[in-house]
């Protein structure tokens, strides 16, 4: 293999340590650590370029993954202001997520997730503004956010034979699939096998999660069984490479134990080159075997579904350029990004130009498919595009971004000349995102560097510190850093999409309400007690600034089910419903109905109140849950059961 050892292993590591040491050194002011000095004119330019004056809107939505916070953050670009948090895998009392029955059911027994790679739905390779898919690396799930109301609508999983859903979520050209790859290889179907049998009993898998084109509902389509590598990150093809998907792997050594060393022994790892259309066809034709109800494809037995392509050592990102012709892979422990030609990959497959196999999966000849090894710098992780013929690769170790030229290249091009600009970032960049940078038509104006370390570039908040994100103007030949902001832990990847592509509603229109428990008049409020089943069920009406009814009687031990409708039809007239002492806070958007359920174990009086500030009389928006001790009369009911009508306590309310 030519050129892959452009810099010795030992030298790279030595430099890595040196870079880390420099940043960590207490004596060096962080502002001086490799930052381009900004002249007054540049500061003015940067201020004007990023200032969004009160009342004006940002041009882009930035959907950040929230990492192990389990959420998605929404920011605006160019202001970089955090606008909202979309809760996905963890409860979020701010919007009542994880407290009402619907979201509690979606979360199941899990209380957190690890969101890495958000992916917007696409039509013809461009964002269509319908859904955002996000993965959970920890509990092997995939979630779908509907961008119409920016709410999590489905959490699929745990996905079978997947441990650490990291290589996800990669959306195909027309959102046929959201693709998934397991990071950790484990025995199939949740079985046990001792680690000694790692090479024989353990398997990896990549999965096609089908997406219903109408409503986005996700379901497991098929899986492809792989050798026990660790699958890392993926990309889907576009244009000529539509129908194909790519994932990087580390630990092709199939080692266990201290992977830092054991998985870094070989000079190269593999990219999985997967023909997902062929996999879909194979599943349709029944060329699968059953693993606990999942259709599993063995690529050794179904030719044409999967190939392996060697690439630089311990790669993270594999990325496909906007034209779909160039596949770019960067090995973290190589100072280069390798450009492969998709056309040459296809030729190699057609000519069966293979160099052996791994567990029956053909290995494509590296030398015949590689176009160029571009010396981007140290620790290349992830590449995005500007649609103007350039690629931008994040350099973790070097703490910088390299801008370099994509093919075609003239014969005899000096690889060094391809890197046209480099900008330091503060510090240790992981992913980067350019405006619509993974679509067929990147916008080429903004780039956001998502840095893993902020090392005190913000006011000191103690040892637990946020991450830093930096906004870089890429409209010119030279990259120009204009702003930075700090986010909660921990963005990995993001999607940067023009504001006009996303068209959310302002409130839930009453006419669209399908909840059978929705009520739109205070007179429809009802509380019914079923004494035989010790259950009280109520329909509660909420509007500025009262609930109907204002008192609810239950008996100690009753299961209480309350359906609360926010009857407002006005943007931002959000009402909360918290029952003191019961660990429940639901937040109901205008026109929405939510159900809260709990057991009223201990007798007493528990006020309920509106948690989301709604009006001048928000504080007065309250009522009383009377939990009556057994044996005491329940005045609101006839013989302790039946329909309880709240006394008309407010003549004003009643008039409505």
């Amino acid at each position: 293999m030519k050129g892959l050892s452009g810099m010795s292993h030992a030298r790279v590591i030595a430099l890595a340590i040196a870079a880390g040491g420099l940043a960590a050194c207490g004596g060096v002011k962080p502002q001086l650590a490799g930052q381009r000095q900004m002249a007054t004119g540049d500061v003015q330019h940067a201020a004007l370029a990023t200032y969004v004056k009160p009342g004006d809107l940002d041009k882009y939505y930035l959907f950040y993954s929230g990492g192990h916070s389990g959420q998605v953050f929404v920011a605006g670009v160019p202001s970089m202001r955090h606008i909202a948090t979309i809760p996905v895998f963890a409860p979020y009392p701010g919007t009542g997520y994880g407290f009402d029955e619907e979201s509690r059911k979606m979360l199941g027994d899990f209380t957190w997730g690890d969101v890495h790679h958000p992916a917007l739905s696409k039509t013809d390779g461009d964002y269509d503004g319908r859904w955002l898919f996000v993965n959970d690396n920890a509990n092997n799930r995939l979630a779908r956010i509907d961008l119409r109301d920016m709410k999590t609508k489905q959490i699929l999983g745990p996905i079978p034979n997947t441990m650490g859903n990291h290589g996800s979520s990669m959306v195909t050209n027309n959102t046929e699939y959201a693709l998934v790859a397991t990071r950790f290889s484990v025995p199939l179907d949740g079985q046990y096998a001792p680690l000694e049998e790692y090479k024989t009993k353990y398997h990896g898998a990549v999965t096609g999660i089908r997406v219903d084109p109408k409503d986005g509902t996700m379901s497991v389509g098929w899986q492809i069984m792989t050798p026990p590598f660790d699958w890392d990150l993926g990309a889907t093809g576009k244009g000529p490479s539509d129908g194909w998907a790519f994932w990087t792997s580390y630990n092709s050594e199939e080692a266990v134990g201290k992977l830092e060393v054991n998985a870094s022994q070989k000079d190269r790892d593999y990219i999985a080159v997967v023909n997902w259309k062929a996999a879909e066809q194979a599943a349709k034709e029944g060329k699968t075997f059953d693993v606990g109800g999942t259709k599993m494809i063995d690529p050794a037995k179904v030719p044409g579904v999967m190939y392996l392509l060697p690439c630089g050592k311990s790669p993270h990102g594999v990325d496909v350029d906007p034209s779909g012709q160039w596949v770019i892979c960067s090995g973290k422990l190589q100072p280069t990004s390798t450009v492969f030609s998709f056309e040459k990959i296809q030729q190699a497959i057609a000519k069966r130009d293979f160099k052996g196999d791994e567990a029956g999966i053909p290995v494509i000849e590296y030398d015949d498919t590689e176009i160029m090894e571009v010396p981007v710098g140290l620790g290349p992780l992830h590449t995005q595009f500007d649609g103007k013929g350039y690629a931008y690769t994040s350099l973790y170790v070097e703490s910088a971004i390299a801008k370099w030229k994509l093919p075609p290249y003239a014969k005899g091009t000096d690889p060094k000349s391809l890197v046209v600009d480099k900008i330091p970032v503060q510090f240790n960049i992981g992913h980067l995102v350019t405006a619509e940078g993974d679509t067929r038509h990147p916008r080429g104006d903004w780039l956001v560097a998502m840095n893993k370390m902020s090392r005190g570039r913000h006011l000191n908040v103690g040892p637990s510190i946020p991450e830093s994100s930096q906004l870089i103007d890429i409209t010119g030949q030279k990259m120009n850093m204009v702003y930075e902001s700090f986010t909660e832990p921990e963005p990995h990847f993001a999607q940067l999409v023009r504001a006009e592509v996303i068209k959310p509603i302002e409130f839930y229109p009453k006419a669209e309400s399908k909840d059978p428990n929705a009520i739109w008049q205070p007179s429809e409020a009802r509380v019914v007690r079923d004494a035989a089943h010790h259950t009280v069920e109520g329909k509660i009406y909420a509007i500025r600034s009262y609930y109907e009814p204002q008192r609810i009687q239950v008996q100690a031990g009753d299961t209480v089910i309350l359906h609360i409708t926010n009857a407002e039809q006005q943007r931002d007239e959000i009402h909360g419903f918290a029952v003191t002492s019961f660990d429940r806070n639901v937040v109901i958007d205008p026109g929405e109905t939510k159900t809260v359920k709990f057991v009223a174990r201990t007798s007493g009086v528990y006020p309920y109140y509106c948690t989301n500030f709604c009006s001048a009389l928000h504080q007065e928006m309250q009522g009383y849950l009377e939990v009556v001790p057994p044996g005491r009369a329940m005045a609101l009911y006839h013989n302790g059961q039946g329909v309880a009508l709240s006394a008309p306590e407010s003549a004003v309310a009643d008039a409505r």
Partner: protein, 209 residues
């Protein structure tokens, strides 16, 4: 001014009468009157638009806000007198059409009188309703304000809201029609003053012979 208008109308009296009928008929589907409430938190304003047959706009939001001062909720049912309006406008349009067909001075009088009566009745009803809304306030309301009558036209301030009231096409078109009817009548009366006492068609035939 009047002379110019009369000159314009003079030779096209039948067409002008038909036009007036059309204007009145068109008004049946158009808004009569509106109120827009603007405040800092409602920069685009909240709207109430009154049509002959119903009320449209941000009524539920206006009612939600008004309940704090104990105002009666606004609904289609509340402006019950509006139900008569389509029929009344239809009758006026028909009368104007009849006047166009008959083409006698006296025939222009009924639509004109009907129009004047309707205008007087409508203005009075509107004033009465506005008075009622601003005065018939629930004494148990959260916020007590001094009773008020929103003006029918122009700007006013109620708490944090600046209100803008205006007459819309449903009022303007019948008014224009009324002016047209009056002009035709004026032209007819002027002719009558100049010419010998009115000749019927039979007499005119005789005179021609």
């Amino acid at each position: 001014m009047l002379g110019t208008l009369l000159a314009l109308v003079e030779r096209r009296r039948t067409a002008v009468l038909v036009g007036a009928a059309v204007l009145v008929a068109a008004a049946i589907t158009l808004p009569l009157w509106g109120m827009t409430l603007v405040s800092t938190q409602y920069p685009d304003g909240l709207r109430m638009v009154v049509y002959p047959a119903h009320i449209r706009g941000d009524i539920s939001e206006i009612n939600t806000l008004n309940h704090y001062i104990g105002m009666t909720p606004i609904s289609d049912a509340f402006f019950s007198e509006l139900r008569l309006l389509p029929a009344a406008l239809g009758a006026i349009a028909l009368a104007a059409l009849v006047a166009a067909l008959i083409r006698r001075a006296w025939a222009t009088v009924p639509p004109l009188v009907l129009m004047a009566a309707l205008a007087a009745y409508g203005m009075n009803a509107m004033h009465h309703r506005l008075y009622q809304f601003g005065h018939d306030l629930n004494p148990h309301a959260a916020i007590h304000i001094a009773p008020f009558t929103p003006p029918m036209l122009g700007q006013n301030q109620i708490a944090q809201f600046a209100t803008y009231c205006y007459f819309s096409w449903g009022t303007i078109l019948p008014l224009v029609a009324g002016v047209l009817l009056a002009l035709v009548l004026a032209a007819d009366l002027r002719d009558a003053r100049r010419a010998p006492p009115a000749l019927g068609p039979a007499a005119r035939k005789l005179a021609a012979a």
